[in-house]
């Protein structure tokens, strides 16, 4: 089993500038100001991210990107999580990865340069709440030069802002990915526990697209598997950053709040679980950067699968623990909307299930680690 963990000087620079950018562009007042907005993100910040080259970081140079590995996105995702900066970055990045892994040449040439410069895209994977179901009930049928799509995709992230949507459906009994442009679609916005995020369901009723919107069927199954693992990794990286932010919030409070004549951080009943938050975050951090080291252009191998699943399981647990304790440790204040602890616990419970919860991943790790040993 691989224990690789490498971080180049170039990646260090990306991490440093990402952290600075996110801190500057996304102070907690700005995070709160966006909670009630329709899109959930700031277009100027999005454009600035595109201008910095973040959207093309893992897109090959021939399509206008920087040609780095998808693992190089980990420090960006972590930094965004750290500043609670929500944008359609994950959705667009995953869509680009899907296009790279299963798009036709024409589709790649048409879309990747756009995604690298700020056109928003997303991938509609799940039909419902069961992340363990890999095939879709959304059916594509051939009709001459067209495909007719019928079915529902659940809580598609950032879909209302997206120009391009990659829809997972079933064609001829096989998994398929179909490109849809966001025109004339029925979208019903979800009300999410994490108010920094946006998602909507997509309902298709014999929706017609040209058959050249179908991605390469021969590579689609492997690409879908990769996208689910990379999605898990990106959410894990974001959750790790958010755990660190949550920890900072708790530590600040423990250092300033007095009860019974003492700073509450001096009480070991609060101090020790806060150290547990740090240790859980540190474990997640080591796992996400390990996963960032071993993922590649795919299909992802066993080491990469183990790494992504471990990272997601650990990072989700860490944020759920930190968010939960953050509310509790703020006492009465923690029960209010005004207290920032709510941002973290809401994100924890929402992100936990995205791309599979810890149980989902540990079950699969059991097969990978306990059945193949030899």
């Amino acid at each position: 089993m691989s224990n690789a963990l490498e971080f180049t000087a170039e990646q260090s620079m990306i991490l440093e500038s990402a952290r600075e950018f996110c801190r500057d562009q996304s102070p907690i007042t700005q995070v709160r100001a966006l909670l009630d907005s329709t899109s959930g993100f700031n277009r100027d910040v999005w454009q600035a991210m595109a201008d910095l080259g973040w959207l093309g970081l893992a897109i090959p140079e021939k399509f206008g990107g920087a040609g780095m590995s998808i693992g190089s996105v980990v420090p960006l995702a972590e930094s965004m999580g750290r500043a609670m900066l929500a944008t359609p970055f994950f959705s667009t990045t995953l869509a680009a990865q899907a296009l790279l892994r299963a798009g036709t040449v024409a589709q790649q040439e048409a879309w990747l340069p756009k995604l690298a410069t700020g056109t928003i895209a997303t991938v509609a994977l799940a039909d419902g709440g069961d992340w363990g179901v890999e095939d879709s009930q959304c059916l594509a049928q051939r009709a001459g030069d067209s495909l007719l799509l019928t079915g529902t995709k659940a809580y598609v992230p950032d879909v209302e802002s997206a120009t391009l949507i990659l829809v997972q459906c079933q064609l001829d009994g096989q998994p398929a990915l179909v490109l849809l442009e966001n025109q004339g679609l029925r979208l019903d916005a979800n009300t999410l526990l994490d108010q920094t995020k946006r998602a909507a369901s997509l309902t298709l009723d014999a929706f017609q697209v040209a058959d050249n919107a179908l991605m390469d069927p021969g590579r689609t199954s492997a690409a879908l598997r990769d996208i689910r693992l990379l999605g898990a990794l990106l959410v894990a990286a974001e959750s790790t950053g958010s755990t660190a932010a949550c920890l900072d919030t708790v530590v600040d409070y423990l250092k300033t709040r007095k009860q019974f004549g003492q700073l509450i951080g001096s009480y070991q009943a609060l101090k020790h679980p806060t150290v547990e938050m740090l240790n859980a975050m540190d474990a997640a951090r080591s796992l996400i950067y390990h996963a960032g080291t071993v993922v590649d252009e795919g299909p992802l191998d066993r080491d990469a699968e183990i790494a992504c699943r471990m990272a997601k399981a650990q990072a989700s647990e860490a944020l759920a623990f930190a968010g939960d304790r953050a509310v509790q440790f703020h006492g009465g204040m923690g029960f209010t909307y005004e207290c920032d602890a709510q941002l973290y616990i809401r994100r924890a419970q929402h992100s936990q299930q995205l791309f599979g919860d810890p149980w989902h991943h540990r079950k699969r790790l059991g097969s990978l680690l306990l059945d193949d040993v030899g």
Binding site: N3, L5, K255, G265, D282, R285, S286, W359, L370
Partner: protein, 405 residues
């Protein structure tokens, strides 16, 4: 200490690795028929002592211990890179520990750094050969984790110091010839640390009485060591009076192994998750292999994630860009993370054995001779010794997170 030593070529190191591996494979002792200590804190019988002494002597005679130490004192005088390779092969081949740990890892490097030529002549070679066993006298009964508070007194009287007090958790105190001793020569100093002094004390002295402590495993391995008007030569003082704290802290640096100046050799048998999984191969639950049980599998996977994260964290600790957030958190939490992980891992290994989990060393049906039961109980030495897990959490909370005392 070895600044003049040449850096070996990759070719030399590769050849050496082959050589040491071949030697270890050929000379690995046969199973002695009794459980061997996994750490130097578990040497509880003469039988175990004789076995380990013979093994360390053999290892040293072959030239695989103290490789970076000077030739004139029994070392090989070569680069520490060789010792690191020898150590990694010892781990891989699974040979017994080099048990004279306080000598090899603490006293020896300290004497090489700060001792006189006469000290080096007198002590170093016999540390390597296991002729002289060393023990450590830092902790005291009334303040386990608070070394600055040491109360054992050393009073100068002519050419001698007179020692009075009690040390506890003296590893192999009943077998040791020498002790590195931290004692108070001055109780009037404004800072309690400044009144401490450091001694290389003989143990075979009237008034020093090491009494074995029976551990929760039922075995021995530590003593409580009583000093009653024990007179030791004044030449045993290392450095100056009042430098004891500084020297004690210096000895802790060597613990990190051959690179830091220690002699090398396996300090402990590493027990890993693969061992736990292997131990469950023959166990059934509900009539089916235990490793197919979904509840047990989830527990195993959680432990595997933790083991992997700990090992990756050791790597990440060396990447400055990935540690700038909470500097030193990984270094300061290392002991807490690994000792607590080991405790839970071992406890799990027993729990997963079903009915056999209730058997102990000595029962012929015990899985692996009761290895896991004993390993679990012995592991408390690591969650308690060297600062309990609770003290570690305070240190991390205060020094890494800046929480108030």
């Amino acid at each position: 200490m070895n600044s003049a030593v040449e850096t070996p070529s990759e070719q030399e190191l590769n050849n050496f690795r082959k050589e040491v591996k071949a030697w270890l494979t050929a000379n690995k002792p046969a199973d002695p028929g009794f459980l061997l200590p996994q750490t130097f804190m578990e040497v509880g019988s003469d039988q175990q002592l004789d076995f380990l002494r013979e093994w360390q002597h053999k290892l040293w005679s072959a030239g695989y211990l103290g490789m970076a130490w000077p030739r004139e004192y029994g070392g090989q005088g070569v680069s520490a890179a060789f010792q690191l390779i020898a150590d990694s092969e010892m781990r891989r081949v699974g040979v017994p520990i080099a048990f004279n740990v306080i000598g090899l890892g603490w006293a020896g490097p300290l004497i090489l750094d700060r001792g006189s030529d006469a000290d080096k002549e007198k002590y170093i070679k016999n540390i390597l050969s296991a002729e002289d066993i060393w023990c450590q006298g830092f902790s005291e009964p009334d303040h386990g984790s608070d070394l600055g508070n040491v109360q054992t007194r050393a009073v100068r009287d002519g050419a001698e110091y007179v020692i009075n007090g009690t040390k506890i958790w003296t590893t192999m105190g009943n077998y040791a010839k020498y002790m590195i001793l931290l004692a108070r020569t001055n109780s009037e100093t404004p800072r309690k640390y400044d009144g401490l002094s450091f001694f290389l004390s003989p143990m075979d002295v009237a008034g020093i009485d090491p009494r074995p402590i029976q551990k929760l495993t039922g075995e021995y391995g530590f003593t409580e060591t009583f000093f009653t008007d024990a007179r030791i030569p004044a030449s045993c003082l290392m450095g100056e009076e009042g430098e004891g704290w500084k020297i004690a802290m210096q000895t802790l640096q060597y613990e990190r192994g051959a690179e830091a100046g220690a002699a090398g050799g396996l300090m402990q048998v590493r027990v890993v998750m693969d061992d736990v999984i292997a131990s469950l191969r023959g166990v059934t639950r509900d009539g089916a292999p235990a490793l197919e049980d979904p509840v047990l599998r989830d527990q195993l996977v959680q432990l595997l994630i933790e083991e992997k994260a700990n090992s990756l964290s050791n790597r990440r600790a060396n990447i400055p860009a990935l540690t700038s957030d909470y500097p030193f958190s990984l270094n300061l939490s290392g002991k807490l993370r690994s000792s607590e992980f080991n405790r839970r891992m071992r406890q799990f290994a027993i729990a997963a054995q079903g009915g056999n989990g209730g058997l102990y060393v000595g029962d012929s049906s015990a899985i692996a001779g009761g290895f896991w039961q004993r390993a679990y109980l012995n592991n408390f030495a690591t969650t308690i010794g060297g600062g309990t897990s609770q003290i570690q959490a305070n240190i991390i909370g205060e020094h890494v997170l800046g929480l108030p005392k």
